[in-house]
Amino acid sequence: MKNSIKRFKESYLFYSFKRDKIAMASFGILVIFLLLSLAAPLISPYNPYDATTTDIMNSEIPPVFMDEGTSEFLLGTDNMGRDLLSTMFYGLRISVLIGLGAVFLQATIGILVGLTAGYMGGKVDAVLMRIADIQFSFPYLMVAIFISAIFQLMFGIGSFEKLAVPLLVVIIGLAEWPVYARTIRASVMGEKNKEYVEAARVIGLSQPVIMFRHVLPNTLTSVMVISTIQVANAVMSEAALSFLGLGMPVTMPSLGSLIKSGFEYIFSGIWWITIFPGIFLILFVLVINLLGDWLRDVLNPKLYKG
């Protein structure tokens, strides 16, 4: 363990990290964001998802620095009387949850498919990649509608609130796995012809062992790089779905649904419901992207940027 910490400290990754101010700043902000989302229930002044503590009579209070603002609600309230700051923290929590969950799902499917396609080649590859192509030609909205319908059929309406997060994870996970599959496949194709794979075959290792223990670890760099970007994309997809009303339920707003409900109000001068979560979302996605860019530059400048 100590050894690996030491190794990490001596690594090129850490070295370049120390020299890149933007990467360090982004990382710092990202850590703050992650802490905020982890600690949302602890640090938020209110629990916006608890209907008992919100009151419609408090709706649309501007942030504290404006004339009608009160210090009770630092960033003001949304149209349902929720404290905006707390809602943003909770919304962030959901974004993080969905972002990570969806990427995990994407990565799992994508890696399995990409690895199998890349390693097996031939017909298996052709079939799997065709499926990925088809999946890719679907707008994720369609996937969302489709999966929502199935979920509803399976679980009924009552548990909708509890299911919303897993539902979105599945939707976004299923919508974007081809990105992983393609990247992994490309890396695997590059790796599998390297001689160390043949060396493993010469030893007599079985295919799955070679695939998972030799080839897969060597594609993880690209997985890591696209994962950051995919987390950012997943967060944005969630926001987009919520914006279209296909995402989080109204009683549990995410950043996207907040922006959406704010959109109706932005022309009437109630800008904070959109602007604060909007900035929050952009900043969050931005730091992930910046880190992703940096990772790409450091780890794998040649990685496909599509």
Binding site: N3, K194, V202, G204, L205, H214, N218
Partner: protein, 347 residues
């Protein structure tokens, strides 16, 4: 080892390659094979005829080198031998056991006995595994019952033998130079105590000064362990130095198989002659290479008859039409050439 006269004479074949053919289908799926010709749909396969009807035996303790131009099928042959590619036709025997059609499981005992060393020192080690992990894996896999300490000891001893400091066993490949990596590759091959090592251009990527180190190491290991080598290279001076017999390949076919001294002293096949004359030697001022004519054909569209006829200055009608058979010359050299067979004037 080759210079071990006894071993050379005892002539027990450790590996027999019989009429091996390996073609790669590169035409893709059914759809890619369909072509529109004169308004009709025809199915056309594109195959790379990498190895065509090659037969060899390797005797215990000898070093048999395979030489030839790039793309002539040397590596393919090596991989077929190692069971990495199934041959399209032909048989391969290891000490009398046929091994070319075995299942993965059935092949395992032979895997222990046959190991391979690769050309590219940068690609042949898994960059994510430490030296120790790399060496441990085959041991553990083939000897699941082996104790931890036994494994450890074995690794240390092999590392010492190949000249890599055992203290470095927890380092990753990128921390080593090309020559050191090649030593580790050799260690990985040696660790299972194999009888036969197939070395696919193990020194081609190395600098001259390092090349000598690795060749010495291979020769020493061979001597100490009584190894048999199938050695693939395109460097004739290396061939001359280390092998007991040499097989010369051209476009997937074997054109000459001879004892090293014989081959270098009296090359029979016109291609071998051209090849030998082309090696630049230190101290020779004027190159006196035999010029070949024409262009190198691709293994996709193999020429008819003798595959070399297009570039051969001695070729005649017969060479274009008829595939030459192997002829055994007096000195034991096998050669596949009409001109040699007919004793055409070749000077």
């Amino acid at each position: 080892m080759p210079y071990d006269i006894e071993a050379m004479n005892n002539n027990t074949p450790i590996l027999t390659i019989k009429n091996v053919v390996k073609h790669f289908d590169i035409s893709g799926g059914l759809l890619d094979q369909l072509k529109l010709k004169n308004g009709r749909i025809v199915r056309e396969k594109t195959t790379v005829k990498a190895v065509n009807d090659v037969s060899l035996t390797i005797n215990k303790g000898e070093t048999l080198s395979v030489v030839g131009e790039s793309g002539c099928g040397k590596s393919t042959l090596a991989r077929v031998v190692m069971g990495l590619y199934p041959p399209n036709a032909g048989e391969i025997y290891y000490k009398g056991d046929r091994i070319d059609h075995l299942t993965h499981k059935e092949m395992l005992p032979f895997r222990k006995k046959m190991q391979m060393i690769f050309q590219d020192p940068y690609a042949s080690l898994n960059p994510r595994k430490t030296v120790k992990q790399t060496l441990e894996e085959p041991l553990r896999f083939h000897n699941p019952k082996m104790s931890r300490t036994a494994i450890h000891d074995k690794i240390i001893s092999v590392m010492k033998q190949v000249g890599v400091d055992p203290a470095w066993s927890s380092r990753y490949p990128h921390e080593f130079s090309g020559g050191q990596r090649q030593r580790i590759s050799i260690a990985r091959a040696l660790i299972l105590d194999p009888d036969l090592i197939v070395a696919d251009e193990p020194v081609s990527a190395l600098d001259v000064s390092i090349q000598a180190q690795i060749l010495n190491l291979l020769m020493d290991a061979g001597r100490e362990r009584g190894l048999t080598y199938l050695f693939i290279t395109h460097d004739l001076s290396v061939v001359e130095h280390i092998s007991s017999r040499v097989a010369v390949m051209y476009l997937g076919t074997l054109c000459e198989l001879a004892k090293t001294e014989d081959l270098f002293a009296t090359p029979a096949h016109p291609y071998t002659r051209a090849l030998l004359s082309a090696i630049p030697r230190v101290g020779e001022t004027k190159p006196k290479n035999i010029k070949l004519k024409g262009e190198v054909p691709t293994p996709v569209n193999l020429p008819t008859g003798c595959v070399f006829h297009g570039r051969c200055v001695y070729a005649n009608e017969r060479c274009i039409n008829e595939v030459p058979k192997r002829t055994l010359l007096d000195n034991g050299t096998l050669v596949a050439c009409h001109a040699v067979e007919e004793n055409r004037d070749m000077d």
